[in-house]
């Protein structure tokens, strides 16, 4: 097995006049959690549809779990799991029946043991025989992930895994995604428009906008690429700043109106050094500014992710439609 779980080369997807993907390339290493971060219409779902073999690219090439998605879609489909952003389960079936159907579709022979194990793991075993239509949103999401894991895929695609969920359920899912990645040894490619989610979960992130990848890297790398963190001091009287510039972690110093802005690489390491060289008797307050992935997005596109993102109303309308 190669060390890349996913390799996308110059993927283009057009729907009539709309260019959903304008040639994107990236790769996902085996075992990592990789995030596609971008606003509405960026092309996240389209990318996943191509990588899972649901729709062919207009041009370009993609290798997933060692197979070409266009030439060997069935080999790819055997090796990947997919969880859509809208929860898709059959509400007329119970959890067990949903899992059985998935097992038959994937040709899993020992599915009963595997299904029991997964239901236990996701705390759903006591509810296995209840109609899925009566599940809470969090339970539905968990069941969908369990379903996607039934055939022990190598790569799991999660499209907006926490969209529309409350804070607690989201935290629960983050934990779950990390454990699935660690304990089941599954490579995960997820999409999100929540920068904290990409930051908290992903080893590496690709920022995508209007069908183009703007940047790829570890969250920390991306953030430091837009300039470091800032330690801002408010002082009562002018103090001697000369020794600041000699500190290894200090990048830049600017002082104005009783405020000293010190750009540093990492605030955690820089602050103790600063404390040692400055006269802190004169310091009234200290504030730390850290760039977020949103800062990165803003720098790259001139917009904020969450502003360019949408619309819970549309989302809930969709959920309601899907559950009827």
């Amino acid at each position: 097995m190669s060390s890349e779980a996913v390799v996308a080369e110059n993927l283009v997807k057009r729907y009539g006049d709309v260019t959903a993907l304008a040639g994107i390339s990236f790769s996902v290493h085996n075992g990592e959690i990789f995030g596609l971060l971008g606003p509405n219409g960026a092309g996240k779902t389209t990318t996943i549809k191509i990588l899972t073999g649901l729709t062919p690219p207009t041009s370009g090439r993609a290798i997933v779990a060692g197979f070409d998605v266009v030439k060997n879609p069935n080999e790819v489909k055997r090796r990947v799991g997919w969880v859509s952003s809208e929860v898709i389960l059959d509400d007329d079936l119970n959890a067990w029946e949903n899992l059985e159907l998935q097992a038959k579709l994937q040709g899993v022979s020992n599915w009963r043991e595997r299904a029991t194990e997964l239901l236990k793991y996701f705390d759903l075993l006591p509810h296995a025989k209840r109609p899925v239509g009566n599940y809470s949103t969090g339970m539905r999401k968990k069941l969908e992930i369990a379903t996607a894991l039934l055939h022990s895929p190598e790569v799991l695609f999660l499209d907006e895994p926490t969209i529309g969920l409350d804070v607690n359920t989201r935290a629960m899912l983050w934990d779950l995604i990390r454990t699935v990645n660690r304990e089941f040894g599954v490579t995960i490619l997820l999409t999100t428009h929540y920068m904290e989610e990409a930051d908290a979960l992903c080893n590496r992130v690709a920022i995508i906008n209007l069908g183009r990848i703007m940047a790829i890297g570890a969250p920390a790398e991306l953030k430091s690429s837009v300039g470091g963190e800032v330690v801002e001091l408010e002082v009562e009287r002018p103090i001697d700043l000369s020794r600041l510039r000699e500190l290894p972690d200090v990048v830049d110093v600017a002082a104005a109106d009783g405020r000293i802005r010190i750009t540093v690489r990492r605030a955690e390491e820089a602050i103790p050094q600063i404390v040692r060289v400055l006269d802190f008797a004169a310091v009234k307050s200290l504030r730390v500014e850290k760039p977020t992935l949103d800062t990165v997005f803003m720098k790259l596109t001139g917009k904020r992710i969450e502003e360019s993102h949408m619309d819970y109303r549309k989302f809930y309308a969709m959920i309601r439609r899907a559950r009827q």
Partner: protein, 257 residues
């Protein structure tokens, strides 16, 4: 074999939906019984000789039962197309097509599901007809032929309806197609009246209308004038061609969106 596994899993889902969704299930039984009750009773006032001369029996229910069942097989065919449209709208089709399960299995499972929904009416309707005084002949083989004929009819019509909706996500399309096809096909078959009374052009249509063949098999059995087993061959050809076309086309054209 995994293709058969997939087919079995998908068919099981269709069957579960038949008995868990109560309103359509009730409709499945109420509608045909209403037929027998009202339509079957409508000619009760005719003199026995007239009935015998026109329909070959003194109990019009015995005449209409095979017609009603054959028609029902055609009507319930619509469930195959409705089912694919809903699966597409809810995204469930994506969930199926993201697995290596063959697309033909999806098509076939829906055809079988609709056929099953049609066939579960058979025992109920026969029992209802008995309650209305129809005397059942003792001819085991005859019943097998009749039921196989109805099954072939159901498979053929379900395949045709499903093909029409194979790429659609418009939930009104199945109803529209049903409205266009069902009534003309019913009236140009011998489901309601014997074809002796038809004008020549309707008689020509009736003699190639698959409904007629299934009707005549049942009527031959119930009225004691069995038809040639070749009728079954005709229905088998009808079902195979429609199904084969469906399987071929679904393989190429069935997509999630």
């Amino acid at each position: 074999m995994s293709a058969l596994d997939a087919l079995w899993g998908l068919y099981k889902r269709e069957v579960i939906k038949i008995y868990r969704r109560i309103p359509p299930l009730v409709m499945t039984f109420i509608q045909p019984i209403l037929w027998i009750v009202f339509f079957g009773s409508s000619l009760n006032g005719l003199p026995k000789e007239a009935l015998l001369q026109m329909f070959g029996t003194t109990n019009y229910v015995a005449f209409i039962l095979p017609g009603q069942l054959a028609t029902s097989m055609m009507f319930t065919g619509t469930f195959s197309s409705m089912s694919i449209v809903w699966d597409r709208r809810f995204g469930f089709l994506k969930k199926i097509l993201v697995t290596p399960a063959p697309k033909e299995a999806v098509f076939f499972s829906k055809v079988l599901g609709a056929a099953t929904r049609g066939l579960i009416q058979v025992p109920v309707m026969i029992a209802a007809a008995v309650a209305f005084g129809v005397v059942l002949p003792a001819d085991a083989l005859g019943y097998v032929e009749w039921i196989v004929g109805l099954m072939l009819l159901a498979i053929g019509f379900s395949s045709i309806y499903l093909l029409v909706a194979i790429r659609s996500s418009d939930w009104q399309l199945p109803q529209l197609v049903a409205n266009i096809l069902n009534l003309p096909l019913m009236f140009t078959s011998t489901a309601l009246f014997p074809k002796n009374f038809f004008p020549w052009w309707m008689r020509d249509i009736a003699s190639v209308n698959p409904l007629t063949f299934a009707v005549e098999i049942g009527r031959g059995l119930l009225l004691g004038d069995p038809v040639d087993v070749i009728s079954l061959g005709y229905l088998a050809a009808f079902a195979s061609i429609a199904l084969a076309m469906g399987l071929l086309i679904s393989r190429k054209y069935l997509t999630a969106e």
